[in-house]
Amino acid sequence: MSEPFITQAPDEAMELALRRIRQADAAGKPSDLAGLALDQVVVNMGPQHPSTHGVLRLVVTLDGEIVRDVIPVIGYLHRCKEKLAEKRTYYQYIPIVDRTEYVAGINCEWGYVLTVEKLAGIEPPRRAEFIRVIMAELNRIASHLIGVGTFVADLAPLGTAMVFYMFRDREPILDLLEEATGARMMFNYFRPGGVRFDLPPGFEERCRAFLDRFPKLIDEYESLVDTNAVFLQRTVGKGVVTRQDVVDYSLTGPLARAAGVPFDLRRTRPYSVYPELDFDVCTEQHGDVFDRYRVRINEMRQSRKIILQCLDMMPKGPVQVGTLRPPYVITPPPGSAYTAQENPRGEYGTYIVSDGSRYPYRLKFRDPCFVNLQILPKLMRGNKIADAVAISGSMDLVLGGIDR
């Protein structure tokens, strides 16, 4: 038997890929293209690769152009965020949460703050709840714009137009977030018991002005892509996630909703003021790459609807309860709490164990991308390598969150 061709000195993931080829050969398993098993090539894709949107490394076993096996290798962006929490007070840790899944920082902050509030029994004032929803939904739109934009850019030449349109339209959202929080991406805005500042004067008008423009922009994206033959050929029926996969692999976010499972924590495990707001959980039926794109586009419309309602319903009043004052320390009673928040990518869970001191005793994140990424090998197997790029793009992975 000839040795499969290797592109670099093997590490454990590479060796695993080679071992799997040998096992398949030894067992005499007929492949779909019988007789080509010996021609398999193990290719190292990443960690620096334009279509992985971060430092994701895929050890891909190729059979000609067809992907036979994929072994994701992660951890290149690991910054031991869970360990860092054990030496920081509950306030000091908030800026670090922003940097886990940096594309949707506000949503991550919210997940963390929710858990601290649950542990310490803090109830934020009503105005702060509406501000939180507005910020989180603005950030959800911004995140989906990046997710869809870069995904389409990977697929076809027209994507270059799409990605520029989407980054252009993300700017006004980041401007709004910057006005309110002082930062474009690393916000450090939420506090246990409210938010840091009230909204600046004129924010509401500028927010409404953007939201009035936004539906036309979404129509523009759809007209570019939805009927494009190249885009449809590369997305429809590719990388299908079934409902059983959603349950088995605990998939959440657009991945689950595109497969027809209406799992949205804003509805299934409601928090904040979401029960008072009127919006739809966007689902599709087929679970393929195209449906995931459709879910994200529709969710942007729903987010707009939510923000408009919040602007109408938002009462006047304080934006934080009296916890935010020197020495900026909260000491939750001993115990543990798990809360989950609907991040643009799925269920962002935070599990905190408190021993009654100023620092969390243990903090654990459930990052949606980390969990969703597990199904990637299953989706890619049997597809062409070019479609594998489409599939990983449609999962909207953020490596900052996966590696933590």
């Binding site: 951890g75 869970e82 692999y249 605990s250 959440t252 459930r366 597990q374």
Partner: protein, 164 residues
């Protein structure tokens, strides 16, 4: 498998009672924490059996494992399995207590496929062995890392890093 979530309506007391009935003698310390979460303690030796039963419970199957958390309490480790039932829209936290001297427990990755990476992470970060795991490699740290950083007694020695 249904496309709907929360089709079975159960109060938390009913849910706890049903769990206790379905798993007689297996769940020690069954209590209700939140409006939607039940916390149960289970013996490590019984974990696989309990996991299988919970996964296949009629009507309110806890068929989805969302997360495995690990906590270092000093004399023992706690392995927390966060389970979710799509049908009942309820959460169950399954706590397994492992002695520090021999932190090992059966894998549940054959019951819930999503457990695979969570168990690898638990091994990587906390040094808990999962017996029968199909792919027991480290996941976030590099292959030749020494020690398990999230243990409370972890010391990071500079000698362990040849590249710095």
């Amino acid at each position: 498998m249904t496309a709907e979530i929360g089709t079975v309506h159960l109060s938390m007391d009913e849910l706890a009672a049903r769990l206790a009935r379905a798993l007689p003698g297996e769940l020690t310390e069954l209590r209700i924490q939140d409006p939607d979460t039940v916390i149960a303690q289970v013996d490590p030796a019984a974990l696989k059996r309990v996991a299988r039963r919970l996964h296949d419970l009629p009507e309110i199957a806890f068929d989805s494992l969302t997360l495995i958390s690990t906590v270092d309490y000093g004399p023992h480790f706690d392995c927390v399995y966060h389970l979710y039932s799509f049908a009942a829209n309820r959460y169950l936290e399954l706590h397994v207590r492992l002695p520090r001297g021999k932190p090992a427990v059966d894998t549940v990755s054959d019951v819930w496929p999503s457990a695979n990476w969570h168990e690898r992470e638990a091994w990587d970060m906390m040094g808990i062995r999962f017996l029968g795991h199909p792919d027991p490699r480290r996941i976030l740290l590099k292959d030749d890392w020494i020690g398990h950083p999230l243990r409370k007694d972890y010391v990071d020695l500079i000698e362990n890093h040849p590249y710095v």
